[in-house]
């Protein structure tokens, strides 16, 4: 071997990273897979429903469920980026709803008198945050998999919810609470309406009219505002703050994060408290909108939250994910979950069939995007 190639001298290691314009950097965004899936679902459902899914009422109903999904999936996403799971979200929703409704009906604990929506919410939030802290602390201290610890809390909290209902209320549901959102600003923040100006403008533009000729829909559910708020805050925290860097570092390689001074235990405990907070917001919206509570509320929501986070590009093993992807994922799931109302000819169980298909498709797309970004890791 006397001939060696010499034209490699000016080629540097850095040259191996392909550079490109805006389009190729757009293709390297982690959200691109979930965006494509979302666009497909929007078009397919818009077409199959003759546009009914996106008329005034359709939009309101769709965004109602999209927001529900989005609120809990955002919490689940951040926790998954830090490398942990929370299977107790659904039971936490049931627990928080029970707690608030029970306080409103039977009064505050410790003989503190009648509850207002604000005090019921604050007492409940204190409990759910404490539970989130407890779950996080158990995971961090015991070094057990969060899958097992939160699975235990899935059963434990659902059981506690049912037992509390039967002991205090003699029935596993509460209905017929006063319509607090009419009298309390706090309750209407969760159960009322939002973006009335949007539908007013729609009406003013000559559409959004019911058969009697009046304005048809008056506004989105209040939870849309909560979803936007949760998403915006989560996006800023994750991508722009020190805490966000710690969340990524904790999920990617915990020991190296620890070695560099990242408080990985505090990060994880805080995120378990965040999923508990998201579950509580979810429950508050439900209780104050319908003025009812049921021991079965929130069932299976933890799995939907995880599925949405995964569809949104979050990596199951942590260290990678995007809040914007979760927004796309929530829209996809919400539309599919509601599709049966707009396309009367299909069987409602197609929801699950479709969820399965979407989940796999999105994961395949996300994997190829992620490999492009991270060099195949």
């Amino acid at each position: 071997m006397s001939t060696t190639s010499t034209n490699t001298d000016d080629r540097k290691e850095a040259d191996r990273l392909q550079k490109g314009g805006h389009l190729s950097s757009l293709k390297r965004r982690p959200e691109v897979g979930s965006f494509l899936v979302m666009m497909f679902v929007i078009l397919a459902i818009g077409f199959a429903s003759n546009g009914n899914a996106f008329n005034a009422l359709g939009l309101k109903n769709n965004f109602s469920i999209i927001s529900q999904f989005g609120i809990i999936a955002t919490g689940a996403c951040l926790l998954m980026i830090a490398g942990e799971f929370d299977l107790s979200i659904g039971s936490m929703i049931g627990f928080a709803g029970m707690s608030m409704a029970m306080m409103l009906k039977w009064g505050l604990p410790f003989g503190l008198g009648a509850a207002t929506p604000l005090t019921a919410f604050l007492f409940t939030l204190a409990m759910t945050l404490a539970l989130g802290w407890l779950i996080g602390t158990i995971v961090v201290r015991s070094k057990l998999s969060s899958f097992i610890v939160t699975l235990a809390f899935l059963f434990f909290l659902r059981g506690v919810t049912e037992v509390s209902f039967r002991l205090i209320n003699q029935s596993t549901q509460i209905s017929g609470l006063p319509d607090y959102k009419e009298t309390s600003w706090f309750a209407s923040m969760f159960g009322g309406e939002s973006f009335a100006w949007f539908y007013d403008a729609w009406f003013a533009l000559g559409s959004n009219i019911n058969r009697a000729g009046n304005q048809w829909v008056s506004g989105f559910d209040a939870r849309v505002v909560w979803w936007i708020a949760v998403s915006v805050i989560a996006y800023i925290v994750l991508s722009r703050t020190q805490a966000g860097n710690w969340i990524f570092a904790t999920g990617d390689n915990r020991e190296s994060a620890r070695a560099n001074g990242v408080p990985v235990d505090k990060v994880r405990i805080s995120l378990f408290m965040l999923t508990a907070l998201c579950a509580t917001i979810f429950a508050a919206c439900q209780v104050f909108e319908t003025n009812t509570a049921d021991a079965a509320k929130g069932n299976l929501k933890e799995l939907e939250a995880i599925a949405i986070a995964v569809v949104g590009g979050t990596l199951m093993t942590g260290g990678f994910g995007s809040v914007i992807g979760v927004i796309f994922g929530a829209i996809t799931f919400g539309l599919v979950a509601n599709a049966v109302f707009f396309i009367p000819s299909i069987d409602g169980s197609y929801y699950r069939v479709f969820v399965g298909v979407v989940l796999l498709t999105a994961v395949f797309l996300n994997e190829s995007v992620r490999k492009r970004i991270t060099g195949g890791l």
Partner: protein
């Protein structure tokens, strides 16, 4: 001669009845590379762990810039300027170069931990620091997973230096790398040495690498220093003999030839 930047005398470490290190003396000056060589089990790792504060020595003293120090944790060691780059590098492959560079020590405006990151400044610093020691990452926002092993090593070294390492301990930085990348890391070591204000302790298995960059050598075997000296004073064969733990095993090539001649 100037005061050594780091000096250790009589370092001894016992794990129960097992003596891992037995009276190690060591000193490194500014702008100097000390190669720490020895076979597996010679006590290299234990020595690094003592110097970087992971273990506490059973006996012996350590001085940094003439002042006696004792470390309760790796944090104490890095506070006085001992930066250790371990074999696993403590790098997160899915995160960007900048985010890795500033992991745990982010530049931010506002209230910790929700301060807004100053990404532009951090990108610039990460890029400039890497260029200073010889690697131009075109995009500091690229994931570390896309970088070669040598570049990752450079990132870890640049990070340690930027955050105030006066003594840089490199734990086998060239093992598990390809030939060209090994040379890249050696170049990095040389450019750090050329700064003149940092003392480097370079742990390696590879005598050729150590000869290329080191000023002085210390050989460990069975927990003791069995030899050492300045580069000029040591012949190549002597280095090889000491590398093998001082035992007179002769020339490896000759032994292999004998085995082959034996009819295998």
């Amino acid at each position: 001669m100037s005061e050594p930047l780091i000096r250790a005398t009589g370092l001894t470490k016992r794990f129960g009845p097992f003596t891992a290190l037995n009276g190690i003396d060591l000193e490194v000056r500014k702008g100097e590379v000390l190669a720490l060589l020895g076979d597996n089990g010679a006590g290299k790792s234990t020595l690094i762990k003592i110097l970087s504060g992971v273990h506490q020595p059973t006996e012996g003293k350590m001085y940094v810039e003439g002042k006696e120090v004792s470390f309760q944790s790796p944090r104490d060691a890095s506070a006085v300027g001992i930066g250790t780059v371990y074999q696993d590098l403590a790098i997160n492959p899915l995160m960007s170069v900048t985010r890795n560079f500033f992991m745990g020590r982010e530049i931010y405006k506002g209230i910790r931990p929700f301060g807004i990151l100053d990404m532009a400044t951090m990108d610039k610093i990460a890029h400039d620091e890497m260029v200073k020691i010889g690697i131009d990452v075109s995009d500091p926002r690229q994931a570390v997973g896309t970088m070669s092993g040598g570049q990752r090593q450079t990132l870890a070294i640049a990070r340690a230096i930027y955050f105030g390492a006066k003594v840089l301990i490199l734990d086998e930085p060239t093992s598990a790398l390809g030939q060209k990348q090994q040379m890249g890391v050696l170049k990095t070591i040389m450019s750090v040495k050329a700064r003149g204000d940092i003392a480097i302790i370079f742990i390696t298995h590879n005598e050729i690498h150590s000869q290329l960059v080191a000023d002085r050598f210390t050989f460990l075997a069975l927990g003791e220093v069995i030899g050492g000296g300045a580069k000029e004073d040591l012949a190549h064969d002597e280095i090889r003999r000491l590398m093998a733990g001082g035992a007179d095993i002769g020339d490896l090539e000759k032994e292999l030839a004998e085995v082959q001649a034996g009819g295998l």
